[in-house]
Subunit: 229 residues, 8 copies
């Protein structure tokens, strides 16, 4: 059965690093640890590090985080965001352009923080505005002047996902909406919030996958850079 045998002990047996990605798109590959074994994720993070590529890993389980931190003490783990960073893509002092990450409820924090950490890693300044869902809309209005300072807005919400609709009617910045799986039974794992955001009655909203904070942070950062370049 030699044909499908794994070649050597490196990551080539299961991964093919996209080393030209930064040339094509401006940003290096990110490691999505969901669905990978801990061994695979660790090996890919190490390989990127060895090649000098600043690494951002998402959906990092605590046991993987412990292993990475043990091997590379300079790595940083955010427990809420479930992210690890190893190496620096953009020095904090060089970050430019404000992104507001606005989240509807406390339960949406992990997704919001994943978005925030991603945007920061790639060079944006991030302001987190949390627990301002539309059920108590004055909370949103009281933070509106802060939100209006942002060049791009990420709106994170579960349940009916109404936050982006309301926000987009109040601001001039583009809104990237992230549905989350928070809610009672008929939220159907975030489907309800996803459909709500896709059907936002206010223009200026586009949507990423359920719980995909990383995707929102990435997209918001490249939009932000477009503006600040």
């Amino acid at each position: 059965m030699e044909t499908v045998e794994r070649r050597g002990g490196g990551i080539d047996a299961f991964a093919c690093l996209d080393e030209e990605r930064q040339d094509r798109t401006g940003y290096p590959e990110v490691v999505y640890c969901g669905g990978k074994t801990e061994d695979q994720s660790f090996a890919i993070i190490r390989a990127l590090h060895e090649r000098g590529v600043p690494a951002l890993a998402t959906r990092v389980a605590p046991s993987l985080a412990a292993r990475v931190l043990s091997a590379f003490p300079e790595a940083a783990f955010d427990e809420t965001a479930r992210t690890i960073t190893l190496g620096v893509f953009c020095e904090p002092q060089n970050r430019q352009g404000l992104i507001a990450v606005v989240c509807a409820g406390t339960s949406d924090m992990p997704v919001a923080m994943e978005a925030a950490r991603t945007a920061e890693f790639f060079g944006s300044v991030v302001e987190l505005v949390c627990d301002v869902g539309v059920a108590g809309i004055h909370r949103l209005f009281s933070r509106l002047s802060d939100i209006r300072k942002a060049r791009v807005i990420i709106a994170v919400a579960g349940m009916e996902g109404a936050l982006p609709s309301v926000l987009a009617g109040l601001v001039s910045a583009p809104v990237i909406a992230v549905p989350t799986g928070i809610g009672y039974g008929a939220s159907f794992g975030g489907l309800s919030a996803l459909l709500g955001m896709l059907n936002a009655c206010a223009p200026g909203v586009s949507v990423v996958n359920i719980d995909n904070g990383f995707g929102a942070g990435y997209q918001a950062n490249i939009i932000n850079k477009l503006g600040s370049a």
Copy 2:
């Protein structure tokens, strides 16, 4: 094949009027014309009229309306609401208790008017507040003092269906939400608005079927009567 043959020429062949309904629930039967043939709907409306029962018919096609009006000139047809009334359940001057029918967009008017006509027929006073969707939320705020006068609120919206969530956080009255089938592709015939309303992040909202203005108007009226009795 005599066993299943229709008996005589009356409506007994296809309908069984619920004549004790008013005794049990306080209100007479209503004629839902959707799915019935024009002959069946006409015969049922006529039969109710002959028995002295004030009739409200919903989902009335223009051709049925013409036939009813021709036979019973005292009937009233609302083209937008697609309702016919024949006979009076509650004299206009005896209507009590204000219901606000708040609708998000112009396209939601037929459903909103069906709700309004139903609630009026059964004895409520109705105020229509239209085109105040959350995309331009100041429009809603500018009408809020009017809406707050209502004992019960019906909120009609398509697309993401966010109006009830926002409203319920601003008022003390119960909100009956009606999703409509208005919207781009992923509104999926009103499913998006339905899920949005069921997942409303503000308490105080309950929901009826997609495009079911009648159901909302009926439920709002009995709630209103509970209060005003």
Copy 3:
């Protein structure tokens, strides 16, 4: 990464209490513990308590309950309903207006009790009528005179969710329907009961989210208060 760093040690890092909620809607905020960490839930309950706001918390896990009871022995935990109350919004002797919580099967009890505890907390009198599903409809009829005394009815059912349809044809009070996730495979986590209730053939029914006993209890209470005010 200072921008998104949490501010201080208070709940401001992840929550924004809606302190004006009672002014706008007549009732204080309720703590939904689903999706929050135990630390977050505890901190919010404590914060409400410290500000003198009577607290109702739902979806309380046993470990959170133990922690709250240990810190605040005056708190009350209902294991079936999964609710905690800390402080009193309405003294038991001041409760007014009867709400009947009617549930189809024994398995629907947790949702029914969440509804009951919510309505009681906010000031209604509650009567629980359990295991009267339509498979043995005489059980429902034998309790009907009790149910007819209620100003508002909450009907809780899984499987096909037929209870609200049958009930609404027998009573004059508004029926708030709560679908539950109980049933064989094609109940699809409560979707079957939800659709059944939305399509109730009897008018006078509106529906809340799957398993959302809290939402039903809240809505029933404000309807009840409308009547008894």
Copy 4:
């Protein structure tokens, strides 16, 4: 392109009559005209007739009916049921065993009549009980003694499809449930009634496809014959 060319002018080009079906199952093939062209349906009905097989055709459009009646004046067309019969499988005087076809609303009549005509054709006696939906449950009770005389019950309903659940708790006969596509938006073309019936809380119910009156009539008849043989 000769290989796929149609062979001759007979029905062999598009149909393969199942001539041994009666030997295997006791009943001849039935012609489902949905999806077939009018020419195909006509040719198959004619072919069965020429071979002396009594024919039942379902989902017959008026134009096909006119053509069949013109060619075979002895054929019988039921406009509501959309069925044609040509030839006699069981003489009316030889029909045995009562099947009750119970339908919830007037709009369900076409499906109920398709069931009735099918069961009659194959030799059952059929009693139609219409418009006895659960919204006014006394209508069902007033017909219950009639229904209890039946050996098999077919229950036809749209909307929430609760009729079979209630019926099955009241009778000893097996209930074959037929969901229909009648209802407001979230009936989703009969999906709501279908799920409701599959989740019937009372045992003794099995279900056929949406609007499949034929399937219910056929199944009820073979169950009936099992008993009356």
Copy 5:
């Protein structure tokens, strides 16, 4: 909070036995343990036993079984079927009329055995024919003469659920189809088999809920009794 407090220590707090069920339908109530706590299930089984009602319980977890067997050594537990019987409704020697339980694969056995145990309990003779799915259709043909002896057939299958379609074209007995949740990803928990069975191209099939072996066994038994009475 006395109003909703549980009354006494009996099962009245959470259950309402349907003691007249046997009078109405010919068979006593069955205990569905899914969704009930172990305490509730045990109490209901004991209560039935104390009232002399022969008890069949389904979806019995091993720990509940151990508890029942410890308290009532005469009870019988079938581990595959997950059923307990306590008391005898019909003595084995009095069982009449053969039901064939035909199942497509080894993995469908628990559902098939639940159907078998139910039909036996209520008085039918049951023959189990297992692992005869349509992928190797000769296996089905080799058992066909046995299957044709049955008065009623229960067909249990997962995956595409084709067994009932093929069977119903080969026999004269009614086929009750039970979809199961067995299969690769797009079986979607049994939805695929359910839809396949509802769309069976051969008449003579009706369907119960996914994994609902009990429902199939119950329905098959009353059909069988109809015939053998």
Copy 6:
């Protein structure tokens, strides 16, 4: 608004012919007329013809067919298959390797013929075996020796889509399954057949899109050529 203005009068304004397709894949582009305007389809067919590319067009409406035949009398239109061919990719006498197109019912013929015409156009010999659905499985067995001569089998079926499962257990050739939208309500436009085929319990089946006869014919032909090359 010049930037998005259409360039000239050619097809470049709306189409980009994939002229190197034959080099890469061995076969030229095919024109799918669904969703295109009649003008667009005609222009593309003409453009291919002018460049000497043999053209196969699918989903051709009768009016488009008339226009093409009028302009290019040598074109061939198959009304059932809804295909047009203009030019010859493989002379009929050079076709090699037998593909059996097996279809379950008469109503599935349009999809089956689309598959047949596609496979023939690209050089396969096709045998059509129609109306051999599993409801009367002897019909399939009586044609089995013919079917077993084929190198590849296309199985076309609606309703429960069981034909491929049964076939694949009886033959050694690969089976390409095509679900169709034929059936009662819960066929849901072919979803039922699609899921049935994806869940086929016999290995050796792969599936194309609902009603995609073209896709099946194309895939079957390249498999066939692989073998006969």
Copy 7:
């Protein structure tokens, strides 16, 4: 029935123009004609025009277009895009910043043109790149240098919706993806493309509603302006 009677003859009876929208968001309201009656759409377009607001109307039926052009000959109608513009928001010579509208197939043109016309109206320069779907990926590569000049990319595709995934891995600009309803049966009205785009494996993609060209054009323009301001 005066309370719900329409007030006067103006658009106030059914619409509430959001006149402060431009102040809040930088852009005036757009008229979505889907779901509105022709009278309502016309009245709203006229009202905007009378108040000097440059109007863009989408989903304009030909009969409405004729009526608007007859009343306002200076209006411009794009038949493919189904848009009307009346008045000028940004003079063509003042447009800045390139947006590439890339569409997968000819059938996607109406949605692509709606996006293009919207972005142009609000001040962007638009380049249309059509029929470059991934089935012939060299077509996309041959246009890549053009596409890379754009500041923002709109990717329009039906079927599997793979275009945005491939594009986003090749460019540095943000990609706004628009799913369309083009495809065979299991495209389910665009659901397939929508899910494909939401699950894009390349970061840098966000998604708008099915067929919502307007939403994509609007969002792309505000992103573009962010950059070019």
Copy 8:
């Protein structure tokens, strides 16, 4: 309860080996361990082995593997593929015809390896090409010359499932697509990838069930053998 009692201690109680399968289809039965108990799976593997049938078992849990390896040390277990082989169907040196198993991401490896092991077992040569998803399409191009050597291609992908569409436009070999459940929320357990693959815009693709690597490997092998025979 003797009728349904298990017969003896052999596998006849729950399984019916399809011993003639190889005669009919050319290949022996394969043991799918999903849904079977460990005892059942072990007994079936042993029974095949005792009859001299080379056994391939899929979805093998580690504990079952340990038991098989302990009993039959010559068995081979692949932990990633979750397969066991016991006995040899085709000696490695006799394998013929190359199949390329191309997978989009590291997380898709278990499914890809199941496909690879299956195809090898039945006699094909397999080349694994992993982590070449379309997000970095140059990775795919760099391996294209290898892939083009294959007679059949298996494409394994989760998320949007675009890999087969792109591949099929670049090669002449048939592509068998396998969707996997890898991805963020709206991948809905592989539904997104499944729909994407069914809607592949390039012809030459057919699809197997979600995560069904076995089905793909089996189908690819029989296609390969067709060619190499």
